[in-house]
């Protein structure tokens, strides 16, 4: 069975190979994090650095968020005409779809990105693990072959948890776990695509407007406005976000609840037809706001109204750049 370890070795070899063949200048991947059971982004610049790479169920970040900065002009950049680097990116299914989105939106150059397509077995949700270990904390942990996590709790207990039991919601509901457009493919086991038909969203729609509003209010009122959801999102590359614009100032900087709501409505709405449901915003949120319930609503609508799924093809125009004369007109009030 191809456990994560063998995949990890394959990945290292593949990256080394890319460097040896001089096909990439830099590879964005994951290395071991500083806390137990975490991995974090790292930037591999030579073949001997490739040993740092890891691949396991804690490789949660969407690495595509780092791509645009390689192709942007930074304030202190040298004025020389050095061409942009060729960037390799270790990509899960969702990451790869983000890459497609970025290429489509002309934030990165297609020919300068090498997608290293991983076979994704899903990533873990730390909050779920914490609920498994009865309020203790994760003092240590590692991933064993066969999708088992061995966790040492704060009181010294050892516990074995199946990765599949603590998968992030986004992975359970993942519709496209496979990297379709990989330049280099690392084969192995992967989770199966599921199509739950946006069950959670539909269930929420069933509730009364008052209940829905109450839930939205409760969630948003916890927001501390750190804007981590925005910063972690590969789609949020705007130089100046509407949240920080001063002329006009859309939202005030204070703790006015309606301002916070408008920030979230605005941010989520800007993802319409672009969100690849990678869950980066949810993971980045330090207070655990259930953003997913709201972002997915737009994903669902875009799919149902316009039949569009973001990140699948580079050529297809995004839904809000296209229109048909016979688009849905049912919502229009007639005089």
């Amino acid at each position: 069975m191809g456990g994560t370890e063998s995949i990890e070795n394959k990945l290292k070899d593949a990256v080394k190979d890319l460097f040896l063949k001089k096909k990439v200048d830099i590879v964005i991947g994951f290395e071991k994090g500083s806390l137990p059971l975490t991995s974090r982004p790292c930037f591999i610049r030579s073949s001997d650095m490739a040993e740092r790479l890891v691949w396991n169920a804690s490789c949660t970040n969407n690495l595509a968020v780092y791509l645009p900065r390689f192709f942007q002009k930074v304030p202190r950049a040298k004025k020389s005409g050095t061409p942009p680097p060729v960037v390799g990116i270790v990509a899960k299914g969702c990451d790869a779809r983000s890459v497609v989105g970025l290429i489509k939106e002309k934030q990165i150059l297609k020919e300068n990105v090498v997608i290293i397509g991983m076979s994704c077995q899903g990533v873990i949700d730390r909050r779920k693990i914490e609920s498994f270990i009865d309020g203790s904390f994760i003092a240590g942990g590692r991933q064993e072959p066969g999708g088992i996590l061995e966790i040492t709790t704060g009181v010294g207990d050892k516990k074995k948890i199946k990765v599949s039991d603590v998968l992030a919601e986004s992975c359970i509901e993942c519709q496209y776990p496979h990297v379709e457009n990989a330049d280099v493919r690392i084969d192995g086991e992967s989770i199966t695509a599921s199509d739950d038909g946006y069950k959670a969203i539909k269930a929420f729609e069933e509730k009364s407007p008052e209940e829905r509003w109450q839930y939205f209010t409760d969630e948003i009122s916890r927001c501390i406005r750190c804007y981590a959801c925005r910063q972690a999102c590969p789609n949020c590359y705007c130089k100046v976000c509407f949240a920080e614009q001063t002329l006009p100032r859309w939202i005030g900087p204070g703790d006015e609840l309606s301002d916070v709501m408008i920030y979230h409505i605005g941010r989520i709405f800007h993802q319409a037809g672009r969100c690849v449901e990678c869950n980066a915003c949810v993971r980045a949120c330090p207070v655990g706001i259930d953003l997913r319930l709201f972002t997915r609503k737009l994903c669902m609508d875009v799919k149902e109204l316009f039949g569009y799924i973001p990140g699948l093809s580079i050529e297809e125009l995004p839904p809000l750049l296209r229109f048909e004369l016979n688009d849905n007109n049912d919502f229009i009030t007639t005089g």
């Binding site: 991995s39 930037f43 304030p75 904390f137 910063q231 980066a280 980045a284 330090p286």
Partner: protein, 328 residues
């Protein structure tokens, strides 16, 4: 000593005396520092609060004045008598740091000072440091007394109270009927407790960090470090000692809100000039501020080692590793 069973009576007596009590309250997603409505809400089943308690003295957003009819109507200064219960010593220590900034000889921040004067901090010694904790490396301990008025130790079924300031002892005297005198075994238990907790805290070698940092201002290490950073500012929002703020007008009122040095707009001037244009400078500012500038200005490292920034960071930027890498 206070029997845990008696804590409700103690708190109820305090509340009857007009104090607002903020303490550890069990909520859906863990224990958070909230106002106690009834004494039954208290839960001692927590490691540390998700959010830093600095917000009690220096709220996230605060009204300074309203401007109406061409006159300024100042917001009343906060006067509520407050108890902060169950603050961990690391966080309590942050209060003594913030005092340096907000109550300095030249300009006193009246909002901060009023809150501080009206608040009694009862901290709870830390029995279970987390893997992200490193308080001992920055001069604290799991049972530190800096910035706190009363320190409590959780010895199982009772709490051992220790007075740490004059205010604390005069406060405790008012409620002496709830307390029993500790015996030898209790004192020993507390000693063991401290020793055990201290051993568990991770140690980071940041000796002479300030001096070494001085030489690193133009080092390329900042570029390297900051590359991973998403500049989301979670670290500053979660840091108990980060105090940067901004004054903003919202129509008719002027408010003060937390701001973060990790944001591009933080130092952006109207002319378009930005003294800290890239994440590299901003990261340098954050680390230098904590480990060098405050040492120069106040003689203190502005980090209490609570580890919040380590766990909250979406990309696991670990300040312990970063500082070691910089001064390395």
């Amino acid at each position: 000593m206070l029997k845990k069973a008696d804590i409700n009576k103690f708190i109820a007596a305090v509340m009857n005396n007009g104090y607002k009590v903020f303490g550890p309250v069990k909520q859906e997603d863990g224990v958070s520092l909230s106002e106690l409505k009834t004494t039954d809400d208290i839960s001692f089943d927590y490691f540390n609060f998700i959010l830093p308690p600095k917000r009690h003295f220096f709220p996230w957003s605060e009204l300074l004045y309203k401007y109406k009819d061409k006159t300024i109507h100042e917001a009343p200064l906060p006067e509520d008598k407050t108890i902060l219960l169950g603050i961990r010593p690391c966080d309590a220590r942050s209060f003594s740091f913030l005092d340096n900034v907000f109550i300095d000889d030249k300009a006193v921040d009246p909002y901060y000072q009023n809150r501080r004067d009206n608040t009694i901090v009862i901290s709870l010694a830390c029995n279970q440091p987390l893997p992200s904790c490193f308080c001992t490396s920055v001069g604290g301990t799991p049972a530190g007394k800096e910035g706190t008025d009363i320190l409590a130790y959780d010895t199982g079924d009772s709490l051992f109270f220790e007075e740490c300031s004059e205010r604390g002892s005069s406060f405790l005297k008012l409620y002496s009927k709830f307390f029993s005198t500790p015996d030898q075994a209790d004192v020993q238990a507390v000693k063991d407790f401290i020793a055990k907790a201290e051993k568990q805290v991770l140690s980071v070698n940041i000796k002479n960090a300030a001096e070494k940092l001085k030489e690193k201002f133009y080092d390329s290490v900042w570029d390297k470090l900051s590359f991973r950073c998403l500049s989301c500012g979670v670290c500053t929002f979660f840091c108990p000692t980060c105090y940067c703020f901004g004054l903003y007008d919202e129509r008719d009122r002027r408010i003060r809100v937390h701001d973060a040095c990790m944001y591009k707009g933080f130092t952006l001037e109207a002319s378009g000039h930005n003294p800290r244009p890239t994440q590299s400078e901003r990261m340098r500012q954050r680390i230098m501020h904590k480990f060098l500038y405050t040492v120069e200005n106040f003689g203190k490292i502005f980090c209490v080692g609570c580890g919040r920034c380590v766990t909250a960071c979406p990309v696991n930027m670990d300040i312990r590793e970063n500082i070691v890498e910089v001064i390395g």
